[in-house]
Subunit: 117 residues, 2 copies
DNA sequence: GAAAAGTACTTGGCCATACATAGTACCTTT
DNA sequence: AAAGGTACTATGTATGGCCAAGTACTTTTC
């Protein structure tokens, strides 16, 4: 149990949330997402993002279309489906609650223990 | 891929973080932790928390002592080890960065796309 | 004192995600 | 045509959360 592993575990699920958000803002392909996640200090590699995009598509949350590139092979440009929008709204609530609950726990220090009401 | 499952995934690792925090505030046993997590709207069940506590002990992050109860079998009261304190400090940083990075992603909307600087 | 009920803890198996690694397909350049 | 780069795919491993059943100890009930 090292800290790197716990960091990985903390990110589980949140990566999916972030990617849905990025897609919700407009058509993007995998490298766009990688770049944005990296610039936000969320390290991701191809082997993570491609299977995730496949899962999202199979679940009907995102869709894609092939777009030819003038500098390489064609790209899959992703968009959010209606189901994906609904799903993302649910995740927004989940995220807010998770952060709120966690902040509640970690903001209590030794000298301000909760009293049984 | 339903939302319940994604919620479960989002909590991975964070539960460990919260439990280390609770233990860092003073000696507690499993039911105390369950109660506090539940009151913070983080739902946990026995089958999750006991294996987690065992992992933490095997990793040397927490220690425990048996304390007899006057209303049932003896209880394991947990405390944080020095290694656990160091680990927790690392997780505090990880948590802050994760929240910060995620908020960065999700606060960008369609009309304020990042410009390549 | 034995059976029943309650509390605390333990164990084994299942599932989903992140990741590493290797591989495929297409395009451009030389 | 060969070499290199870009984009996507597939397979296997590790980990954590959860369910479900089980163990052990204590108190209550008869």
């Amino acid at each position: 149990m090292n800290i790197e592993n716990t960091q990985v575990q903390m990110r589980k699920g949140i990566l999916e949330f972030c990617i849905l958000h990025i897609i919700s803002r407009g058509e993007v392909y995998a490298s766009d997402m990688l770049e944005e996640l990296t610039s936000a200090k969320i390290m991701v590699v191809e082997g993570t993002i491609y299977p995730l995009l496949t899962r999202l598509r199979k679940s009907g949350l995102v869709d894609y279309k092939w777009v030819e590139s003038n500098s390489g092979p064609p790209r899959k440009y992703f968009t959010l489906t209606e189901a994906g929008q609904g799903f993302l709204e649910g995740l927004n609530i989940t995220w807010d609650e998770l952060v709120s609950s966690t902040q509640k726990i970690i903001s209590i220090n030794k000298n301000s223990k909760k009293k049984g009401s």
